[in-house]
Each structure stands twice: as structure tokens, then as C-alpha cells.
Amino acid sequence: MSNPSFEVKVGLAEMLKGGVIMDVMSADQAKIAEDAGAAAVMALERIPALIRKDGGIARMSNPSMILAIQKTVSIPVMAKCRIGHFAEAQILEALEVDFIDESEVLTPADEANHIWKHDYKIPFVCGARDLGEALRRIGEGAAMIRTKGEAGSGNIVEAVRHMRRVQSEMKQLTVMGHDELMAQAKALGAPFTLVETVAKTGKLPVPNFAAGGIATPADASLMMQLGAESVFVGSGIFMSEDPPARAKAIVEATTYYDDPKKLAKISGALKDAMKGIDIADIPPEQRLQERGW
């Protein structure tokens, strides 16, 4: 079979809009996520908060745990490969995962190049902190962008910074003249044709989700109101005191993000969220968001 068109890959990203993608470390957790209404799960051996705690090299998950999760749930199963590690991506494709996250949460394998994602039948999602990074990844074939935030921190501040930055850089493009776009493409380090597209539509050409620090229903609401089309929740669910209830609450909050009364009701029944870390307490060299080029 020939490679599905880029549109077919973006098509799955469209179907995930308004849904929550949850990090899970076992088939049991995947089941909890699915029962709570997750639109997809991300299979990984250690969620970002644990990767941060344990240190060492974080790699693609063991295929046997990915297969166990695929057997357990019917929703799409995503998995992460290291930045630039195209052999891990090839293995994930052979496993028929539904989406590959070329992720800064794992230790990068290439310090200059990301994967050429157009070569794969399976869609990719990549992190971005600004518009230039988002458009470089789309140029390489990413079918979905997620703002990076700071994974495993339980702190929303970086996710907000990145989403606001992407949105404001897109707005700027829409008011620029055509004669200004080439210089702006140079400044952003972004492919010119994609800069032109965003200048016309004011939107990324692929769905734009939020990730990295979402721990509460209010966090999900905040990111949706800032323009995210959906959210990834990593450590926020399974590092909390009540994963099933919190998973369900964040699913509801993503649908009813602009209904504060409903959000109050959803949030009221929850136990404690994950503890979280102040960004100032994470030394710059340990910030996952710095990875990616």
C-alpha cells in the first residue's frame, strides 16, 4: 500500500479535537483512561515526572508494553520516539501505533535533525514553543502540533507561554503585507509557503493541541480558552491522588471549557492534584522544552 496522503494523517488529528490524550504506563492505566473518556492514550514506560526524578537516558518504550496496551483499548494508541531517532520511529510504525510523538520528553538522539516524517504511513505529532518551531515540524511532515510546556512539572506556566507566543506570532502574520512575509519567514526560521498559509488563515495548517503541565480541569479550560484545540495530559493524571476521577474531570473540562459553573462542579469532587515544581527550581539544562531544533 502506498503512503496515505498527508490529509489522511491530519484527518486522525481532526478526529481527536476536543478530546484528551492521556499518558499511560500500563494496560491497566490505559483501561482507566479509556473508561474515563480519553480520546487516545500515549503509551510510555515512565511518565515525564518519573523520567525527571529517575534521570538517565529516556528511550522509546518496550514494544511488548505498547502491544499490551493496543490489545486492551480500542481508542488510538500513540507512542514516543526520541528526536531524530528514525529507527525507533520505524519500529513504532511496524507496531502499527496510531500516532508517533517525536518527543522532547525522551533524550534526543540527534542534536541537529528531526525525523523526515513524510516518509511514514503513520502521522506524527511534535512539540513547539513558538511559531517557527511549529512550522519547521509541519514542513518535515508533522500532522499535529502540541505546544511543549514543561512536561512532568505539573506547572501550567510554560504551556501558557508557548501557546500565547504561537497565537500572537500567527496574529502578527495576518496583518503583514505580502512583501514582509519573506523577511518574517527568515526571522522565524520557517518554510516560506507555510508562513504564507498562516498569514492567510491565521491558523496552523494542522491541529494545535496543548501539553506540558496540565494537572487540573481549570488548566485544561485555560489552554482551550487560549486557543488549544485539545489537550495532552501526561503526569497530571497518574501522579494525582485519584486518577480515575481526575481523568474523567479533565475530559469533561475539555468539552465544557467555557462553562465556569460546570467546571466548579467538576473540580469540587477531586482530591489533591500532583504536587508540581516551580520552573525556577528546574535548572535550564534540565528543562525538557529546550530540546528540539
Binding site: M1, P4, S5, E7, V8, K9, G11, L12, E14, M15, L16, K17, G18, G19, E34, D35, A36, G37, A38, A39, A40, S74, I75, P76, E93, E96, V97, D98, F99, K121, I122, P123, K248, V251, E252, T254, T255, Y256
Partner: protein, 185 residues
């Protein structure tokens, strides 16, 4: 004319764009009372387990069934699953708006998603491009069900009365023929 698009999860925006192209005002349906203002409803694509979960959590089942009893309803992909009578998965308790059975993800995982030409039976266009994303298959067709579209001789679009279900996504391919036929003719 106002047509509702169930906006709990999924590609409801793509359906809204298509309706706008037809001069119809799309209305996002997120609460049962939103149905009071519209003359028809679209169940978009998305994850059927997520949609089912949100329908049950938010007391939507009875209002949706009651609305469908007297209004046109279109479902695509996950929407077809919700409209079926029986689904091969205990996680889904479909609404039974059409006398068909469905099998989820019947073509396989995302790696087997595709775009191809389908054959239409009731339309001036006889072949259109259709995108199937982790699509369901219609595994049983009850009496009184009309087949609107086929792919490799298998039914992929069906209709009965004013209820229509498609296993693919005309909203992704920008083809408004089905929406027009159901809501405007």
C-alpha cells in the same frame, strides 16, 4: 436554516464549515436544551467511546433519541456507530436510529486509513473521493435501509427516512452533497 452539530468531541468544526458553505447556520450542541433551536443534527467523527461517555455523563441519550424521532440526522464515522442498532463492542450502547449493525475500526488501525473513490447511487455525482479514518464497517442492513454509497461493493453510506449514516468523512474532503440532500431537499 439552523442545523446542530454535536460538539462534545471530534471534527464538529469541519461539519460546521460544510454547512456554512450550503448557506445553513451551524449551531454547536453541547447541552440538551441546545436542540430546541435547530431543525436537524449532525453526529460528527471522533472517538465513539469518548462520545458515548459524554452523552451518558450529560444526560443526552433521551433528548437525542426524542429529537431524532422527528428531525433529520446525519452521522459520519463515529456518528454512524452512535446511530446503529448494534455494535461489536460492549463499551458502546448505540442510539438505534438506523436498523444497521456496525463493527468499529473494521479496516484496522490508522496505518490502514485511506482516501479512495466511492460509488454513489442517488446523486448526480456518481463517484466522489472519500476519506476513511479508522473507519467502521456496516455489517448488517435491516429492512427499509437504502444504500447511498458503496466502496468495493460494500455499503459505506445508508439512509432510512430522514436518518443518514456514512462510514467515511465527506467533511474532510469538502464534499457537501450528502448534507445538501438530507437537509435541503
Amino acid at each position: 436554516m439552523k442545523i446542530g452539530v454535536l460538539a462534545l468531541q471530534g471534527d464538529f468544526e469541519k461539519h460546521s464549515l460544510l454547512l456554512e458553505q450550503l448557506g445553513i447556520t451551524p449551531v454547536r450542541i453541547r447541552y440538551p436544551h441546545d436542540l430546541d433551536t435547530v431543525e436537524g443534527l449532525v453526529f460528527p467523527g471522533g472517538e465513539s467511546t469518548t462520545l458515548m461517555h459524554l452523552i451518558e455523563q450529560n444526560a443526552f441519550r433521551t433528548p437525542l433519541s426524542e429529537f431524532a424521532a422527528s428531525h433529520p440526522v446525519l452521522g459520519t464515522c463515529a456518528g454512524l456507530i452512535l446511530m446503529a442498532t448494534s455494535v461489536d463492542d460492549s463499551r458502546i450502547n448505540p442510539l438505534g436510529l438506523l436498523d444497521i449493525d456496525a463493527r468499529r475500526n473494521a479496516y484496522g488501525r490508522q496505518v490502514f486509513s485511506f482516501t479512495d473513490q466511492i460509488q454513489l447511487t442517488h446523486f448526480p455525482d456518481q463517484r466522489v473521493s472519500a476519506t476513511f479514518i479508522r473507519a467502521p464497517k456496516i455489517t448488517r442492513i435491516g429492512t427499509g435501509i437504502e444504500i447511498l454509497a458503496t466502496w468495493k461493493n460494500e455499503p459505506v453510506g445508508v439512509m432510512s427516512g430522514n436518518h443518514m449514516a456514512l462510514s467515511f468523512h465527506p467533511e474532510l474532503d469538502g464534499y457537501s452533497g450528502f448534507h445538501k440532500y438530507l437537509f435541503l431537499s
